[in-house]
Structures are given as C-alpha cells and as structure tokens.
Subunit: 130 residues, 2 copies
C-alpha cells in the first residue's frame, strides 16, 4: 500500500489512518490531501486515528503539518477517534496539536465542519478592516 485513500463526504474529506506511517506515505498523504482539497473545494479534513494505539512525534508532527497546509487552503482539520492513551502520550511528547481540532467520533467531527460552514464568513477577518 503506497497511498492512503481520501474519501469525499459532503464538504469534508475523510482519511482513516490504519497503517504505520513512514516518511514516503506521510508525504504522499499530504500531497494527495492538498490536491483533493483544491479539486473538491473541501472545507474540512477529518482524520480518523481510532486504529492507532500509539502516536509518536512523527505522526504528531504530520497531523500538525496537515492542519497547517489545510488551513492555508481554507479547510479545517479535525482529528477524530483519539484514544485516551494517545492523548496522554501526545501531551507528554509536548505535542498539544494547537492547530488541530479534535472530536470524539466522525459524526461529531462532521458536525463541527458543518457548523463552521454555517458561520458568517465576516467574523474571521473582521479586525483587519477596522
């Protein structure tokens, strides 16, 4: 397997991480996601990590990276299904995933993205014009 599938669900993209990530796979995922956000005009990226029992700093950084790239393309990243032990590890590693939102499951993640779409666009860049 050299590619992680990216599924389109309404205005969001869903990625389920099931396999051990290595450099090339992570790079491929970032590239594929970027292209797909642009191609589908997606407003959100859901990354399901419920299959991961261990998250190391490499994956932590990858999630941060994906969130940063998605934000540039006006899509919000929501990490879903994180196990409690993984949350503890991430904090211990000093990775608090500041640019990433989290939700307990895909449905709540989708709800977050849906709510974001309903918010008035003005709220974001309001101060700049004042």
């Amino acid at each position: 397997m050299d590619r992680i599938p990216i599924l389109k669900l309404g205005s969001a993209l869903l990625v389920t991480i099931q396999v051990d990530m290595h450099d090339r796979l992570a790079t491929a995922l970032q590239e594929d996601l970027t292209e797909k956000i642009v191609a589908t005009h997606a407003k959100g990226v859901l990354i399901d990590i419920s299959a991961l029992e261990i998250v190391d700093s490499f994956i932590g950084r990858m999630l941060d990276h994906i969130a940063a790239i998605s934000r540039m393309l006006d899509a919000e990243t929501v990490v879903v299904g994180m196990r409690p032990a993984v949350a503890i590890t991430l904090v211990e590693l000093g990775l608090s995933l500041t640019g990433v939102r989290t939700a307990l499951d895909v449905e709540r993640g989708m709800e977050m993205i849906r709510r974001r779409l309903e918010e008035p666009e003005v709220a974001d860049g309001d101060d700049a014009g004042a």
Copy 2:
C-alpha cells in the same frame, strides 16, 4: 493493527480496507461489524476498497459473507471505490458479488442507503401476506 476501524456516519457504517486481509483480521471485522450494526441500528454498511489494487477470492468471499450477515440484520452492504481492474478480476474469479451493491464512491453509496431508508417498508414482504 489487529482491528479495522468501523466509523458511524448517520445511519450507515463505513469501513475502509487498506491493509492485506488475513483470516483473523477478516473474522474480527465480521464480528465487529455485526456487533456495531446491532448497537447502532445501522441500515447500511459501506465498504471502501479504493485502496485495494488486487482482490483475490478470499476478499471476494469475505465481502459476500459480510453482505449476507448484514442482510440478516436488515442492513444493506454497498462496496464503494472498486477499481476497474478489480472488477475484471472478480468476474474472472467467478465472484460476481451477487448480494452486494456497488457504488463509485462513498457519497453515491451513502445516497443509495439514504434512498433505501426513504422507501416504504411494505414493498419488501408484500407477497408473503397475499
């Protein structure tokens, strides 16, 4: 990885198959799916196989099996994202997946399940009473 994650999306369950299936993983998936269909009252099971470049008779039979079990529990199985080469292989293997519906992508698969929910329930067992 000893479990394939099953994600709940509305009234459907979504499974993305990314890794090589072996006996134990396939059995675990069937058990997990069965439990989750009952627990969530899911009406559909979406199995995304877009990551699979090769589908052998083992996976073909597993898909058939899952569809048969789901049907018993009143949930419809839709296989999504099948590559053209995989479709050719399945037919050559004599596995035409008769109990399984297919859709090109997850969104169309979800649409199928949604439409099924809207259909009047009477249509199914109508003849039995006549």
